[in-house]
């Protein structure tokens, strides 16, 4: 079958089973968009390319399937950089196709030319420049394979416009053979046994579980392991949901804004079992005081994650799911051995529960999230932007299933929440998708309101408007003598209700506490996309908090 490069590109996507492509056209990618016109693939036209990457990312995190982005050269491509970096940091499978100027013009500073392969090299798992149309099917096959195997990540394919016009005999390969890529090394059973021995001897073990367990689809295996052994579990912000937070063995989230009891448990553990997590600084606090009494077992598919920031005692390189299965075989019920430990944890849980002021007249962010959680029965797919609202969502929603908390953990990309909700909703059309956003985060990508409205994507935005870059304000209050430099948004914020309505959304505003529950109900009951504008407390801080540079158990909390 003879096809142009552009037609071949779209054919590759069809053969990979791609359902949605997110993007925005432009000169150098026009031939490919002409081929999109003939395809059954559903194309989502965004208002800004960053939105396209976050949508593809949200789609991927909600489903486990590779998200796909199609944009033009130059500014189209550079606008994807934030989204690529977000996906790279959080190991999200994505294929991003960027137009490029014609091969003969590359390097000449042509119109809308940028060295996209060069620019995106540090923020992609791998990238390609297609120089010959004959290479295209192989490159696309490899791109999809690399993106969603091993430790997943974004792969970029830079596609010059002349190559997209060349004609080729199209044949899509069935197989890939990359001699420098071995995503699934065999699991070293001796290491697994060594780890199991260590865990069996432990008196104060803790499981510390991250996004790798979500990516591996290991929720069931984790639950089985914990039910069998009774080992308490804490998760990172990316691991939220992989273990039900209502389970008695759950310690909830650890780290800077984690629970007291998660952080105390980690600090007092004698064996810490890290599963698909990478000892991020927001998790460890001061690194040389992290889990000082613990031997550390680390299970990760990426060998480079092991002993990167924390020296590990037993490492297991491999996919989390089969490793947890092996653990379940080798380990026994540890509850009798952990009596004291579990009793101690119960004491911590009782003494330091997560809390907020229930009596105040103001609308507190925690209150809104708590109510949305109850009204959606903890079953919604949740996305967030970045900042205070993200941390409160992590604390108060109480996630029960994997892939239900979608947020930018590694890069901390403000503006991520709303477009990722659009992607998540497309991937899981029959579920309620709620985006908790802050007024700062939301304004970064709110141009996509019209995208949600045009395609009738029924996401529910809970906008927690405190008139500040709240997390910045919190740090300024605590560490910069209340000098609120450039963190005040209130006086310049637009009328969010009008913006939402002008974009075709159903919108409501709540300003009093007694309006909150009816407001949430109204928004959730609406069939299409909807926004609830909540005027919330301006000076509420996220607690507990481990200030940067403190050990994990040096926690400050509200009085």
């Amino acid at each position: 079958m003879k096809l142009t490069g552009a037609q071949a590109m779209i054919r590759c996507l069809e053969l990979e089973g791609v359902e949605y492509v997110f993007g925005l056209p432009g000169g150098a990618i026009l031939p490919t968009f002409d081929a999109v016109y003939d395809s059954k693939i559903k194309f989502i036209l965004v208002r800004h390319e960053q939105g396209a990457t976050h949508m593809a990312d949200g789609y991927a995190r909600a489903t486990g399937r590779t998200g796909v982005v199609l944009v033009t050269s130059g500014p189209g491509a550079t606008n994807t950089v934030t989204g690529l970096a977000t996906a790279y940091m959080d190991s999200v499978p994505m294929v991003c196709i960027t137009g490029q100027v014609a091969t003969h013009a590359i390097g000449s500073d042509a119109f809308q030319e940028a060295d996209v392969v060069g620019i995106t090299r540090p923020v992609t798992k791998h990238n390609y420049l297609v120089k010959d149309v004959k290479d295209l099917p192989r490159i696309m096959k490899e791109a999809f394979y690399i993106a969603n195997s091993g430790r997943p990540g974004p792969v970029l394919v830079d596609f010059p416009v002349d190559v997209s016009r060349q004609v080729t005999e199209f044949e899509y390969p069935k197989t890939v053979a990359i001699r420098g890529y071995h995503p699934n090394p065999p699991i070293n059973m001796e290491q697994v046994k060594k780890a199991a021995d260590l865990i069996m001897q432990a008196k104060r073990p803790v499981l510390y579980v991250g996004g790798g367990a979500v990516g591996s689809g290991a929720g069931k295996e984790l639950l089985e392991l914990v039910n069998k052994t009774g080992i308490p579990v804490t998760t990172t912000v990316l691991g939220l949901g992989v273990f039900p937070e209502t389970h008695p063995s759950s310690l909830r989230m650890l780290g800077m804004h984690g629970t007291h009891y998660a952080n105390y448990s980690v600090q007092n553990s004698d064996v810490l079992i890290a599963v698909g997590a990478r000892f991020d600084d927001r998790v460890t606090g001061k690194i040389d005081k992290f889990a000082p009494h613990a031997k550390i077992v680390h299970v990760d598919i990426d060998p480079a994650s092991i002993s990167k920031t924390i020296k590990v005692d037993v490492s297991i390189v491999g996919d989390v799911k089969p490793v947890l299965k092996e653990f379940s075989k080798l380990l026994k019920d540890k509850r009798p051995q952990m009596k004291e430990w579990l009793a101690q944890i119960e004491v911590w849980k009782k003494k330091h529960p997560l809390k907020y002021d229930q009596s105040t007249e103001e609308i507190l962010q925690e209150y809104v999230i708590d109510q949305v959680a109850k009204l959606t029965n903890h079953k919604a797919v949740v996305t967030t932007g970045v900042g205070q609202h993200q941390m409160w969502t992590a604390q108060w929603y109480q996630f029960e299933s994997p892939r239900s908390m979608i947020n930018s953990g590694g890069l901390g990309t403000m503006g991520y929440g709303f477009p990722s909700a659009i992607g998540a909703q497309l991937g899981r059309p029959n579920e309620t998708v709620v985006c908790f956003d802050g007024d700062g985060s939301f304004q970064m990508t709110m141009c996509e309101l019209v995208t949600a409205s045009f395609y009738k994507i029924p996401v529910k935005i809970i906008l927690l408007d405190n008139g500040h870059h709240g997390m910045v304000r919190q740090w300024q209050e605590l560490f910069y003598r209340e000098r609120y430099s450039a963190s005040v948004l209130g006086p310049s914020n637009p009328d969010f209700l009008k913006i939402a309505e002008a974009s075709g959304l159903f919108a409501k505003r709540v300003e009093r506490k007694d309006e909150v529950i009816p407001g949430i109900k109204a928004v959730l009951a609406h069939a299409g996309p909807a926004l609830l504008h909540c005027r919330v407390a301006k000076k509420e801080n996220v607690y507990p908090m481990v200030p940067a540079g403190n050990a994990l158990d040096q926690i400050i909390d509200m009085a």
Partner: protein, 195 residues
């Protein structure tokens, strides 16, 4: 501590930039990097000399191995390798000094490759210490230009071999109702570190 790392890479567009970018992005220090095609024209070999503690070296090896275009990585053991560097040195020379310079050249088994009215160009190969020693002795005669290739190294007893690419038939990772590709078991590019 100094380490000499041998890396086999795909001889393709942009690989050097990937390797160099990795070192700069992660703050690793490169002392030298030499690269050239091997007997297989599809494969280039890099010799990277870097310094850092064991943890840094471990990360360098693992991060290199993680690059898709890197085929294999090996930390060459000092006791089991030969390393050489080629250096061209242009030194000021006149009738009065020429003989003294040539004596130094002979002592180091270096070669004079060009002579002019007032310069001598010397070619020397050897390990780092030999080259440094000779440069030190030539210093008083005024060095005009020094060009170093960077170290290349090879192990005495083992061969850095290219693993055969395994053929994988991935599932359609973008399609509904399929999960991530589950390829067969493979050998990793660096040895698993167990402590």
């Amino acid at each position: 501590m100094k380490h000499t790392v041998a890396v086999l890479v795909e001889n393709s567009f942009g690989v050097l930039a990937r390797v160099a970018g990795l070192f700069s992005a992660r703050g690793f220090n490169i002392d030298s990097l030499a690269v050239g095609e091997t007997h297989d024209p599809q494969i280039s070999r890099m010799t990277i000399v870097a310094h850092g503690n064991d943890r840094v070296l471990e990360q360098i090896m693992k991060q290199l191995a993680k690059l898709i275009d890197v085929i294999c990585v090996e930390d060459l053991k000092p006791e089991d390798m030969m390393e050489r560097e080629l250096v061209l040195v242009k030194v000021q020379a006149n009738a009065a000094t020429r003989n003294d310079i040539m004596q130094i050249v002979n002592t180091f088994r270096a070669k004079i490759v060009d002579v002019s009215q007032d310069t001598l160009t010397i070619e020397v190969t050897g390990g780092e210490s030999k080259v440094d020693a000779m440069l030190e002795l030539l210093q008083p005669f005024k060095l005009l230009e020094v060009v170093r290739t960077g170290t290349v190294a090879i192990s005495r007893n083992s061969v850095l071999s290219v693993p055969a690419a395994e053929i994988v038939e991935p599932k359609r990772s973008a399609a509904a109702a399929t999960q991530a590709a589950a390829p067969k078991k493979t050998k990793s590019k660096t040895k698993e570190i167990s402590k």
